[in-house]
């Protein structure tokens, strides 16, 4: 790890000011991605702004029928939450499937979304659920928030404070894990809500998590696995790596999506 300055602000405003003042500063949430990257010297922030002291960024509540999760809430807390189980049980399953128990005890939803790893689980989930990403300055739809590979709409000094998820009629996320890293080789999230069916895919898209509109259209007409039979993900759009070439990934998108629809 390279040397850095450490700060542990006591307010979001202070954290934001620190970020703005130091262009090479990074926020430290759970650190489960950032710290390994720093250890391998792949990341070299000048400053680490530790959000661990901000208790009001932690916690889960149900407000106006929506699930509101503080950005610093751990995956484990989400997986174990009665509120989550009552409103979006499938989202608890998403959290329970991330990393391993120790990572879930430390990693946070805000940190994961800000990183927007193309193989992470939350991006597909928030896209499918039509969630809102609440920051210290504004509220973004998940569609607007996620802009590409490891990239988000977050601006300098902007900090995710909470994620708001409108309760769907149904939601399920199914993932085929990478055998080694256990990140999603392909993960598909399917949500049904008043606005229709939303399908999002992670792990597979070359540009990161994405909405699969053909599947959404097909499922809107007929919400059954068979509705997806004729639809194929385009291998040209897929990530290709050691663990899954593009054609295999494209095939898996269909398989996993059908399984998600089947429940």
């Amino acid at each position: 790890m390279y040397a850095f300055e450490y700060a542990r602000p006591s307010s979001i405003a202070e954290a934001s000011a620190l970020l703005k003042a130091n262009p090479e500063a990074k926020l430290l949430a759970g650190g489960q991605t950032l710290l390994p990257a720093m250890k391998l010297r792949l990341a070299s922030p000048s400053d680490l702004v530790d959000l661990g002291g901000l208790a009001d960024m932690r916690g889960i509540a149900v407000k106006d029928g929506a699930l509101v999760i503080g950005a610093m809430t751990t995956h484990a807390a989400i997986a174990e939450s009665a509120d989550v189980a009552a409103t979006v049980p499938g989202f608890a399953a998403v959290a329970e499937g991330i990393g391993d128990p120790h990572v879930r005890n430390r990693g946070t939803i805000g940190g994961s979304l800000a990183n927007n790893d193309p193989s992470a689980d939350y991006p597909a989930a928030v896209l499918a659920l039509g969630a809102s990403i609440v920051t210290n300055t504004r509220t973004l739809s998940a569609d607007d928030f996620i802009t590409g590979l490891f990239s988000t709409a977050l601006e300098d000094g902007e900090i995710i404070t909470a994620i708001s998820i409108p309760a769907p009629q149904s939601f399920i996320y199914v993932k085929m894990p990478n055998p080694a890293s256990r990140f999603a080789l392909v993960g598909v999230a399917v949500a049904r809500a008043a606005g229709g069916v939303r399908v999002a895919v992670t792990g597979a898209g070359g540009d990161g998590a994405y909405r699969w509109s053909e599947a959404e259209t097909a499922l809107a007409a007929n919400f059954s696995p068979a509705a997806l039979d004729g639809i194929k993900a385009d291998p040209a759009m897929m990530i290709a790596d050691l663990h899954a070439a593009a054609d295999y990934r494209a095939h898996l998108v269909g398989v996993i999506a059908r399984r998600a629809v089947a429940g």
Binding site: M1, D100, V103, S181
Partner: protein
């Protein structure tokens, strides 16, 4: 340098550390608690597993300064008295260790599983919940038996304490 104060195995410790000091390095270097091991640099092997405020975490993926004010339990502090914790006893009873390197992390993970999932654990749950801990020696067979037995023994200990 940043000041960090932790309660480690019941003892309060304060030190000035370089902020990049990982919790595991603080435990191993500053406190000479070398039972917590480092087996990888990508947060996967779990040899460094300790409990922070009662939850298992990977101490190689946490800054010591981030744990300021926390209670940390390591393998050295798992058993309150001179005797062994029921999970330690179960690991010995079932030959759930060979080279011993992954063992402290494995035992800390096992106790965490019981804390989260209860004392009646089936094989599937144990195997799934051990996802964050690698062992190259045992093939996991005896570790699974040990966790099952240790969990049941923890139930007895808890019952006796009530």
């Amino acid at each position: 340098m940043t000041t960090v104060t932790l309660k480690v195995n019941g003892q309060s410790v304060t030190a000035d550390v370089d902020p990049r000091t990982l919790l595991v390095d603080f435990l191993r270097q500053n406190l000479q608690l070398t039972g917590t091991h480092v087996g990888c640099d990508t947060s996967q092997c779990g040899a460094c597993t300790v409990h922070v405020d009662g939850r298992a975490i990977k101490s190689c993926t946490a800054l010591a300064v981030s744990c300021n004010g926390c209670e940390v339990t390591t393998i050295e502090g798992l058993s309150a008295g001179d005797g062994l914790h029921p999970m330690q006893e179960a690991f010995r009873e079932h030959h759930a260790l060979q080279c011993g390197f992954c063992t402290p992390g494995m035992i800390m993970a096992a106790v965490d599983i019981v804390n989260r999932k209860g004392t009646a654990l089936d094989e599937h749950t144990i195997r799934e919940q051990l996802e964050g801990n690698l062992c190259r020696c045992t093939g996991y067979h005896n570790i699974v038996r040990a966790v099952q037995t240790g969990a049941a023994a923890m139930a007895e200990t808890r019952q006796a304490a009530e």
